[in-house]
């Protein structure tokens, strides 16, 4: 009889330990920030206030709002966050009030789908108050946490970007010579160095400020036009302080380059 009681007690203790181990101290439904797709995530919806952006995989290609193709690297990064995110630490009500509520920081609501099934819904508050750049909640009424991607100990807040251009390829110019009708290069600090290139009947001509120039090398003009096939930029400066942004917007640029397409579109 004593042996039977001892075995029952041991089984009960083991079961209790297993249950305790599998439970999150914060409640699993309120503290799990990653999605677990059966195969793969196929749609991500981001919304903030009245703005909304959808990334959806269609025929193997990720589209921004169902239209233009998204940068693969940016999509891969947000998918990594959405499938691997773990809690780094809880956030106290005092810190949440100071960093989010008092600053009226509006969250980015994120919904993750596989086909028509919603896998996960989270709220991302971007903040500079921690190195991970975020405080997240599962719902408005649940506890806030700092979330990170194990093995990627850096700021993940900027990945939840609502602006379509963030997801587009990083290209300043992306036009074939056949698509270009004119180029205007303005050197704002040395106006005598400015020039224009105009296409007339499949031939490019070089112009200065006072009209068409003579004696230039047409091969160099053709080569210059070909450079506009792809001029990339490195990254968006979304983290630029507002004061710097205002100062730059009010100042004169070093160069101003305008490319007009055959259809009249200006870049």
């Amino acid at each position: 009889m004593k042996k039977a009681i001892a075995i029952t007690a041991a089984v009960a203790i083991t079961a209790a330990m297993l249950i305790m181990h599998s439970r999150s101290p914060f409640g699993k439904s309120n503290s799990e920030f990653h999605a677990t797709p059966e195969k793969e995530i196929t749609r991500i919806e981001l919304s903030q206030g009245n703005e909304r952006l959808t990334l959806e995989k269609s025929a193997g290609v990720w589209l921004i709002n169902g239209q233009t193709e998204a940068r693969r690297g940016a999509v891969n990064f947000i998918i990594r966050i959405l499938t691997e995110a773990k809690i780094k630490s809880p956030v106290s009500p005092e810190i949440f009030k100071a960093e989010i509520t008092d600053r009226e920081a509006e969250p980015v609501a994120v919904k993750v789908y596989e086909g028509r099934k919603m896998l996960k819904s989270i709220m991302v508050y971007k903040t500079a108050s921690n190195t991970y750049g975020n405080i997240m909640k599962v719902k408005k009424s649940t506890k806030p946490f700092i979330v990170h991607v194990p093995g990627y100990e850096t700021n993940i807040g900027p990945a939840f970007n609502i602006k379509p251009q963030f997801w587009q390829p990083h290209a300043i110019f992306n036009m074939l010579p056949s698509e270009i009708s004119s180029i205007r290069f303005e050197n704002m600090h040395d106006t005598a160095a400015s020039f224009s290139i105009v296409k007339k009947e499949k031939t490019y001509t070089l112009h200065g400020n006072a009209g068409q120039l003579a004696g230039y090398d047409p091969e160099l003009v053709i080569r210059y036009v070909s450079y506009f096939t792809f001029i990339p930029f490195e990254s968006w400066a979304f983290d630029m302080p507002d004061a710097d942004r205002m100062r730059l917007a009010a100042s004169s640029p070093l160069y101003k380059i305008t490319v007009i397409s055959s259809e009249g579109t200006r870049t």
């Binding site: 602006k163 251009q165 990083h170 300043i172 110019f173 290069f185 050197n187 040395d190 005598a192 160095a193 400015s194 020039f195 070089l206 200065g208 120039l213 004696g215 230039y216 090398d217 160099l220 003009v221 210059y224 450079y227 506009f228 001029i231 990339p232 930029f233 490195e234 990254s235 968006w236 400066a237 979304f238 630029m240 942004r245 730059l248 917007a249 070093l254 160069y255 380059i257 200006r266 870049t267």
Partner: protein, 48 residues
């Protein structure tokens, strides 16, 4: 750009740009934009 001791320094390898009158600025490396930053004499074979 920020340095290791958190002070600000000028990154001479990069420029700031914007498209049109947009104030969404981007960082561009000189290496990438350099091919289209030419002066007029370039087309006369002076800086080939």
């Amino acid at each position: 750009m920020k340095t290791e001791n958190n002070s600000q320094a000028v990154d001479t390898d990069k420029l700031i740009g914007s498209l049109g009158t947009n104030t969404d600025f981007f960082n561009v490396r000189y290496f990438d934009i350099d091919p289209v930053l030419k002066k007029r004499p370039y087309f006369f074979g002076k800086y080939k």
